[in-house]
């Protein structure tokens, strides 16, 4: 009798717990440690209340993400269900079959893609005509500069005397480099807080010079053109700025090192991500708060960057992940994120009155993000950046000539395009 009671109790308990156990799905995601991630994390309880699905973020530095993700994709079941895809990987992950195509989900649920900036959808949405990601967040690059130095009458006069033209915001890469050299010489600050450290920092920054000077990585037939005359000129200007317009340690700087120089008032400008602006305007972190502004990269074409949401091919909760993406990218939540300081990818979020009231420069960001160009996305994007980072660093540190470095980079880039089957 006693036994019977005990077993039936166990049975009742099991029956009671089963449905909750089933509804108790926990989705996991590997996320970059940036303000955007913290904003979404704050909103997660709303999603849990609505759907009963828990979401857990594992927040790490950017540099650790790729290796962590790749090992998970290769295991039978990924620890991460929701995948945050950087635009560097937006070719590699779909090509390797590591993330799910989303077309059928979008069609089935009539998910509205029309609000997304075309530049964003092209970058972190489609890969070879198929939709794999929903654009989450953009980090296009632009020029951040010190307004107080631009408005300084003494500097203005001196500039005009030296260059025979008015001191204005530069319209070409060459003008920008000249202005940086001038500031370094006359304003007692570095011209540009550059991030010329080997690896992705130097490649990111250099790409702005390249695109704005009319250069590109590949032509339309996937032949490398990083050694074209425009590219060589852009690279020479870049290195000239490293030598004459940047702080001494620029060749070892990454994003954070450059930011610190700028925020301590030791530089006139930086080519950087637009989300640096609110940090630089925050008096708690920066001595130049209120004296910095953002505009398009001189020459007009900055580097576009962004993240997209995707579903891991080996997740056991694909439907739940899609549920999450639909929620986090719904108009309501997208606007809420932007109001809190997130970097939008949708027109309705960019143009929301509350968003613009909080962050007036988002009108400028929208323009920058619309015109900016991403790095080419294909199977070997990561390797491409690595090769370029090495060769550019060799050229900038004087171990190779610009021509020799770019020729070597072009040779390697052609080989990568051939390996990926893009070049016949």
């Amino acid at each position: 009798m006693n036994r019977l009671v005990k077993w039936s109790l166990v049975l009742v308990l099991v029956l009671l717990l089963t449905p909750t156990a089933l509804a108790n799905v926990t989705l996991r995601a590997l996320m970059e440690d940036v303000p955007e991630t913290r904003i979404i994390e704050q909103l997660l309880p709303e999603f849990e209340r609505k759907t009963g699905i828990k979401v857990q973020f594992e927040i790490v530095q950017y540099g650790d993400m790729h290796a962590k993700l790749v090992t998970q994709f290769l295991s039978p079941r990924s620890q991460y269900d929701i995948v945050q895809v950087d635009n560097y990987w937006a070719g590699e992950f779909p090509a390797a079959g590591w993330i799910e195509p989303l077309d059928k989900y979008v069609e089935r649920d009539k998910f509205d893609l029309s609000q997304y900036l075309p530049s964003m959808l092209e970058m972190v949405g489609y890969y070879q005509g198929k939709l794999y990601m929903i654009p989450q967040y953009n980090y296009a690059m632009g020029l951040i500069y010190r307004t107080d130095l631009m408005e300084d009458p003494v500097l203005q006069q001196k500039f005009e005397a030296t260059y025979g033209r008015k001191m204005e915001l530069p319209k070409t890469v060459r003008e920008y480099v000249e202005l940086c050299e001038f500031m370094q010489k006359n304003a007692g600050v570095a011209g540009s807080a550059m991030q010329a450290g080997r690896g992705d920092p130097i490649v990111m920054e250099w790409s702005n010079y390249l695109f704005s000077n009319g250069g590109a990585y590949y032509d339309e037939n996937w032949r490398a053109v990083v050694n074209s005359p425009q590219a060589i000129e852009a690279t020479e200007l870049y290195i000239r700025n490293v030598k004459n317009g940047a702080p001494a340690g620029a060749l070892s700087y990454n994003l954070d090192d450059a930011y610190r120089v700028m925020s301590q008032g030791r530089a006139f400008s930086m080519i950087s991500y637009h989300w640096m602006l609110p940090q630089l305007n925050d008096p708690a972190n920066s001595v130049v708060a209120g004296k910095v502004a953002l505009t398009t990269m001189p020459g007009g074409k900055g580097l576009n960057g962004g993240w997209g949401w995707a579903i891991a091919h080996n997740s056991q909760y694909k439907e739940e992940v899609w549920e999450f993406i639909k929620w986090v990218e719904s108009k309501e939540i997208a606007i809420k994120r932007a109001v809190m300081g997130g970097a939008p990818t949708r027109y309705d979020a960019f143009r929301d009155p509350q968003v613009l009231a909080n962050w007036p420069w988002y009108a400028e960001v929208e323009k920058i993000a619309e015109d900016a160009k991403p790095v080419p996305e294909f199977t070997y994007s990561t390797q491409m950046i690595e090769v370029l980072g090495r060769e550019l660093s060799l050229a900038a540190s004087g171990q190779k000539t610009v021509k020799a470095a770019l020729d070597e980079a072009a040779r390697a880039l052609n080989q990568l395009a051939r390996s990926a089957g893009l070049q016949k």
């Binding site: 540099g63 790729h66 290796a67 790749v70 290769l74 590699e92 090509a95 390797a96 570095a190 450290g197 080997r198 690896g199 702080p247 001494a248 340690g249 620029a250 060749l251 070892s252 700087y253 090192d257 610190r260 120089v261 301590q264 030791r266 199977t379 070997y380 990561t382 390797q383 950046i385 690595e386 980072g389 090495r390 660093s393 060799l394 900038a396 540190s397 004087g398 171990q399 190779k400």
Partner: protein, 301 residues
């Protein structure tokens, strides 16, 4: 008589069996986590395995090795690594031995010194790299500020091709020299007292004692310390990853970081395995040489 002999033999057999039983779990673990991956990586290094196609579809013979040997950046990395290992290990040995000798005396506050010495050792290399990167920031770092107080112009610690490797060497020494000190000190403490007393009675001066007695007696310990540090130095990766990413140019591109990039950026595990094996063989050769050094020493003794 016969009975006793048999039982002794039986006992021996039993002892052997017990020994084997004790060692089996360890051996199995080692086979599972060391031998099998090692053999597997050797197999992969002759194949076309990559993260994009994680299967072995064909064997390429020596192709992966040939490819590595034809890569100028592989040779550069090998050179950088050898340079780094030789400089770091010899400096750490010299500094470590000197400090160990200083500590091996009757002095006060020994406990305090030991505590200070162990602090860097327990820190993770990534943290060490990050802290030093901040301290050495050319514009805003504390080090350059302190130098400026005594009139030395700011030093570009990590931004020059000739200087960056020395900065990494310096940080590595700061981080790892305590290991050398502690191992050598343990050796010094355990040396027998008699030879030293005899030498003093015979009127030997302290330099003579050092070169004729201390160092010869310490040779096995020195060899072990050098061996362990050499193996560890070959694997240095974290400092480079955090502080320079191999730059400027390729001036700090050590081989273990080179292999990391082949694996996780190039996604080419076959090539990476091949290069790892080249590194392994080089390290093994150095270890064998050091072992030989240790052996001859024992025979002499």
């Amino acid at each position: 008589m016969k009975m006793r002999k048999f039982s002794r033999w039986d006992l021996q057999k039993q002892e052997k069996l017990t020994g084997a039983l004790f060692i089996t779990p360890t051996l199995l673990c080692l086979i599972a986590v060391v031998l099998i991956p090692l053999v597997y990586s050797l197999v992969i290094s002759f194949s076309d395995y990559s993260f994009l196609r994680p299967i072995i579809s064909e064997f390429r013979g020596w192709e992966n090795f040939r490819h590595a040997f034809e890569d100028q950046y592989f040779w550069n990395s090998l050179l950088v690594t050898l340079k780094f290992v030789v400089i770091v290990v010899s400096f750490e040995f010299l500094i470590g031995f000197a400090i160990a000798l200083l500590l091996n005396r009757e002095i006060r506050f020994k406990g305090v010194y030991y505590a200070i010495l162990t602090i860097p050792m327990v820190m993770s290399p990534v943290a060490v790299g990050l802290i030093w990167k901040m301290l050495l920031h050319p514009e805003l770092g504390v080090i350059n500020w302190l130098l400026s107080l005594v009139g030395i112009p700011p030093v570009n610690w990590l931004g020059t091709t000739s200087g960056a490797i020395w900065t990494i060497v310096f940080v590595d020494i700061w981080h790892q020299v305590s290991f050398m000190i502690l191992v050598l000190l343990a050796g010094l403490v355990s040396l027998p007292n008699e030879p030293f007393q005899a030498a003093k009675i015979d009127g030997a001066n302290s330099l003579q004692i050092l070169f004729k007695i201390t160092i010869p007696l310490m040779r096995p310990v020195i060899a072990t310390a050098l061996l362990i540090r050499t193996i560890m130095a070959f694997r240095t990766y974290d400092l480079v990853y955090v502080m320079t990413k191999g730059g400027p140019g390729v001036s700090t591109d050590v081989l273990s970081y080179f292999i990391y990039k082949k694996t996780f950026m190039g996604l080419d595990l076959a090539q990476a395995s091949a290069i790892s094996w080249v590194l392994l063989v080089i390290v093994l050769l150095m270890v064998l040489a050091l072992f030989k050094f240790m052996r001859t020493d024992e025979e002499v003794a």
